[in-house]
């Protein structure tokens, strides 16, 4: 089980030199082997939370435990080897490295076309057309995003972190994306998302808002999701 105890994260604003609190005093346990969706407004710290869990960044204070073990000081690669798997919000491009190279690193084996097909078909890509493609600017943002998800499937693990997996993916493949998460049943899956369809598939929701947070079942949290205030022109109250 993944637990956070009194986790704080703050950054110093370079211009004003003032400390800005991003996440404040978070203590919670993510339900094991369930799908939890983290939602909340832009800038509420959702991606920061994912990065803290994965070890990309370290908390200013507080501790993170996994299966009872304090992992706060474990590096990113050490957490990866512990079974943590992340698909980043913005996939990275590599000059000279191919889709196969990354699938091989992720799965710790040399992938044949049929192996690659197993992962790439789940994100709607034909392995034949992609396995030897370089992860460079010749790939579109949507293609890269799907490949990022395929790489996370190739890696496998016990705890999956997906940061806005739907961003850049066209509507046609949206259903497949939802199926992909369903396929991870029995694993702890944490997804950052605003998408209603993904929220609907969640077992639990974590709402982060205005320095507060609330974790609960879908039934408990869904009614708390506020409708964004609209401007007058759109029929709202704002000037």
């Amino acid at each position: 089980m993944l637990e956070l105890k009194k986790v704080n994260y703050a950054v110093v604003d370079e211009k004003t030199k003032q400390e800005k609190v991003v996440l404040k005093d978070i203590t919670l346990a993510f339900p094991e082997n369930k799908l939890t969706v983290i939602t909340g407004q832009n800038g509420s710290g959702k991606s920061t939370l994912i990065k803290l869990i994965m070890g990309v960044i370290s908390p200013t204070s507080g501790k993170i435990f996994y299966n009872g073990k304090d992992i706060t000081k474990l590096r990113l690669d050490e957490r990866a080897n512990l079974g943590f798997t992340i698909a980043f919000q913005q996939p990275v491009r590599f000059k000279g490295l191919t889709v196969k190279n990354l699938l091989d690193v992720a799965s710790e084996k040399s992938n044949k076309l049929s192996d690659a097909c197993e992962y790439l078909s789940k994100v709607g890509l034909c392995a034949k057309n992609y396995i030897n493609r370089e992860l460079d600017s010749t790939l579109s943002g949507g293609e890269l995003k799907r490949i990022e998800l395929a790489i996370s499937l190739a890696k496998g693990g016990n705890l999956y972190l997906f940061d806005e997996p739907e961003a850049g993916i066209d509507l046609w493949s949206f259903e497949n994306l939802v199926d992909l998460f369903k396929g991870l049943k029995g694993k702890t899956v944490i997804i950052v998302s605003h998408q209603e369809k993904i929220l609907e598939k969640a077992d639990y929701l974590l709402l982060i808002e205005n320095d507060n947070y609330k974790l609960g079942t879908k039934k408990e949290i869904l009614p708390l999701l506020k409708i964004e205030p609209k401007c007058k022109k759109l029929g709202g109250q704002n000037e």
């Binding site: 994965m54 990309v56 590096r75 990113l76 690669d77 990866a80 080897n81 798997t85 992340i86 980043f88 913005q90 996939p91 990275v92 590599f94 000059k95 000279g96 490295l97 191919t98 190279n101 990354l102 690193v105 992720a106 710790e108 790489i151 890696k155």
Partner: protein, 303 residues
């Protein structure tokens, strides 16, 4: 041929055994093996050290291997090789130099190559450089390319490590409807220095040149990249210089584009810096250590 010779030949010319077709193997300043065929003739020069390689018109899908190996110290080997590529021919030429210098003196090889491409001919030219052993390993290749109407030349150069000093000079003159593609990859470490310069004259209408340089400089090494592309007609030139810098190394990129015709389209791009942090993070998130991630990025970059 001993094991060091075989290892060098494997590294610089992918030769695991005697090649099929035309070849000339040069060791410590002398030719030690040659096969000249009817289609691709190899003739020893009479006035200076070197060979003429004559590819007959229309010869297609053939290859020529002309590797050079040096396994002694205190040697300066200067060789002049001229390639005459007949009209409509399409060949692969594999050159390259491997130096294993077991002494503390310098070993040096200057390969001066000139390519004369007749109309509609096509050449893929591969040149790899490698140095091993204690002493200085110096390579100063000069490549001159003269391209007639409709010809294409693709040049791949790879300096894969161990060369203490290199100065590569590439010059080309392109006539109408020609295509020149140059891909260069260089890795320097320790106190090594590599200098490359490209001077391309786009004289003909619809002449194209693309230079892609990828370099990695580690430790105290230094690399300099100079390019001068001049467009004298409706032409296209694109130079891309990417460098990864580690430790205390230095990379200098000095571009010059010289358009003498309003229809000339000439572009230079240069990006030099450390390995992108997010690339390291991605690979570490797949379980690689920082060092393993760095090595994989460099390997891919230079592949």
């Amino acid at each position: 041929m001993n094991n060091i010779d075989k290892e060098l030949l494997k590294s610089v010319a992918d030769l695991h055994f005697t090649p099929l077709g035309s070849f000339n193997i040069r060791k410590n300043g002398e030719s030690v093996g040659r096969n000249s065929t009817k289609e691709i003739e190899i003739i020893t020069k009479k006035d200076k050290s070197g060979i003429d390689i004559i590819v007959k018109p229309g010869v297609k899908n053939k290859s020529v291997h002309i590797p050079v190996i040096i396994t002694v110290g205190d040697l300066t080997d200067i060789v002049y090789n001229d390639f005459y590529i007949g009209e409509g021919a399409d060949v692969i030429i594999v050159a390259g130099c491997g130096i294993h210098n077991p002494t503390l003196d310098d070993s040096r090889h200057d390969g001066i190559h000139a390519f004369y491409l007749e109309k509609n001919s096509k050449v893929k030219y591969i040149e790899k450089h490698l140095g091993t052993g204690k002493g200085g390993k110096i390579l100063n290749p000069i490549t001159k390319i003269f391209m007639k109407n409709g010809s294409e030349f693709e040049m791949e150069t790879l300096q894969i490590g161990g060369v203490t000093y290199s100065k590569r000079d590439t010059q080309a003159v392109l006539e109408d409807n020609t295509k020149l593609l140059i891909k260069e990859k260089i890795l320097t470490t320790e106190d090594q220095e590599a200098i490359t310069s490209f001077d391309v004259q786009l004289k003909g209408k619809n002449s194209h040149v693309q230079v892609v340089s990828r370099s990695v400089a580690k430790e105290n090494s230094k690399q300099s990249f100079y390019s001068n592309i001049s467009g004298e007609a409706e032409c296209f030139g694109h130079v891309e210089c990417d460098g990864i810098l580690l430790d205390k190394a230095q990379i200098i990129s000095v571009p010059k584009v010289d358009a003498k015709c309003p229809e000339a389209s000439l572009v230079h791009e240069a990006a030099i810096g450390k390995i992108a942090g997010e690339q390291l993070l991605k690979l570490m998130s797949l379980g690689l250590s920082h060092e393993e991630a760095e090595n994989l990025i460099i390997k891919g970059y230079l592949s």
